[in-house]
Symmetry: C2
Subunit: 299 residues, 2 copies
């Protein structure tokens, strides 16, 4: 039970955690904080937060747990505002998509990584954003990665683990660099490819009306290109080393495939496509579950 | 009303058309044909075809309409077997994903493009294949592109148009080269990227367990990498010019984006991601409909 939870950034991620913990009876009071008072008022009207303030220092007062659920690019300023006033006993965690850069930002703000800071990343989300898109079931059976360091207090890790567990998530530990490499591959690179493809096709579209003839496969493939551009700009800026690394590897493989297409090498194409289908069927369908439905969605 | 329809290749595409026309009462007898008698027996057991034969020449006898619903690489051999015996009054059409190469194959088999040949492409499908995956609603509100030439009889176009219309599809006409360019961009390139990405990640996976942490976005993005490898090999071989053209354009844009990530150019990233999100939201959601559900699916 968390007596008071402060959620900085009450959007899909922060809002859904607040809803889930309320539903589970695992939280007393939820305090919302962001730069946008109108947005916070909507969060309160939706019952996601009990009260709110746009002042970070005020928001974290008396909190047992503070969750930073903001784009990773916004973390340094918020951490700087919070560091002078955050009580040593308050557990601080985040939901940022990159972990090495967040630890750098925490170190810059606090001088070192506080024992009660637990870096985290819930592996859940949709292409929608904002508190209106939040729902209690978002984390049900989803993974949350925590990346504690040697300096992290075991009790703080336990508090954050139980918080996500109460929201229905499965918690795993990983080192920060390993986290950033894994998600550069499975999340950041696909988003970069989807954004880039849609942008390329949009310039072609004037002539050829390509989108008019897009079928279901294209819509699935490009769904992540409807994600929040600011969040993804920040992720690319804050995990650029790992992203460029896996992007270069992908590009080299793609160029080899292009050469095979150009020379009409059916065996090469068959090998790649069969390996890919097998890998996708084996690794992805193994973990495939029905997507959680959002009861707040109108359509 | 088609008195006798011969479907060569009774998989997802051919089987779904047969089911749809039966449901609409728009077909008398459906004759199935493929190389695999066991597969055809299943199609008959499922009620998709009334009878079947593995002999192409026998299959097309007395047919009002013959639909070729086979990978484009299999067309030349089937067309060669059919050409000597196909009645001049039989309307021949196909469901191949490339159109210029199919017209070449028809010309090679018949000496010229018969007046009663109407090249076609239903823009529908799932990553599943086989007659077990077929369902009557597959074409409901989906587009079917027909690419007649100057030699094509208007009456034949009309027959094929009414056939797809009876299955619930919206029929449009396009030139064959324009078709191949549009679908290189919206369908063939995305499939190449999805197959290539999954193959690249599969080689990384041994070390990093990347697939274990794949979330919903990744599963959507890579769904088309579970498509039939043979069909996609054939498409790449038969539309290689257009695919390489749009792939090179994509690669150039992707390399510019990579450079922006490497140099930390947030403005560049914001511009690309915002343009892409706008384009995807505007063009795709405009045509977004709930995917047709397959009542035959167990899960």
């Amino acid at each position: 039970m968390i007596n008071r939870l402060t959620v900085v950034g009450v959007g899909l991620i922060g809002g859904s955690l607040a809803r889930a913990l309320r539903e589970a009876g695992a939280v007393g009071e939820v305090v919302g904080c962001s730069r946008d008072a109108a947005h916070l008022a909507r969060a309160q009207a939706l019952g996601v937060v009990d009260r709110y303030t746009t002042d970070v220092a005020e928001a974290v007062q008396g909190a047992d747990v503070v969750l930073l659920a903001i784009p990773v690019g916004a973390m340094p300023a918020v951490l700087a505002a919070m560091a002078p006033v955050l009580a040593a006993e308050t557990v601080l965690t985040d939901a940022g998509s990159t972990k090495v850069s967040v630890l750098h930002a925490v170190t810059a703000a606090f001088g070192s990584v506080p024992a009660n800071f637990v870096a985290g990343h819930p592996i859940a989300g949709t292409e929608r954003s904002g508190v209106e898109a939040s729902f209690a079931g978002l984390y049900r059976d989803r993974r949350v990665i925590l990346t504690p360091t040697d300096a992290t207090a075991a009790a703080a890790v336990d508090t954050v683990r139980r918080m996500w567990g109460a929201a229905g998530a499965v918690v795993e530990l990983m080192t920060p660099p390993h986290h950033d490499e894994v998600f550069a591959a499975t999340s950041h690179l696909p988003h970069v490819l989807a954004f880039s493809l849609v942008d390329t096709l949009a310039t072609l579209d004037e002539k050829a009306e390509v989108f008019k003839y897009a079928a279901g496969g294209f819509r699935d493939f490009t769904r992540i290109a409807s994600s929040d551009p600011t969040m993804w700009r920040d992720i690319c800026l804050h995990n650029n080393g790992a992203i460029v690394g896996v992007l270069d590897r992908f590009t080299a493989d793609l160029q080899a495939l292009r050469a095979a297409i150009a020379r009409g090498d059916g065996d090469y194409l068959s090998n790649v496509f069969q390996r890919a289908k097998q890998a996708r069927d084996r690794f992805c369908d193994r973990v495939e579950r029905p997507a959680p439905t959002n009861p707040n969605e109108s359509a």
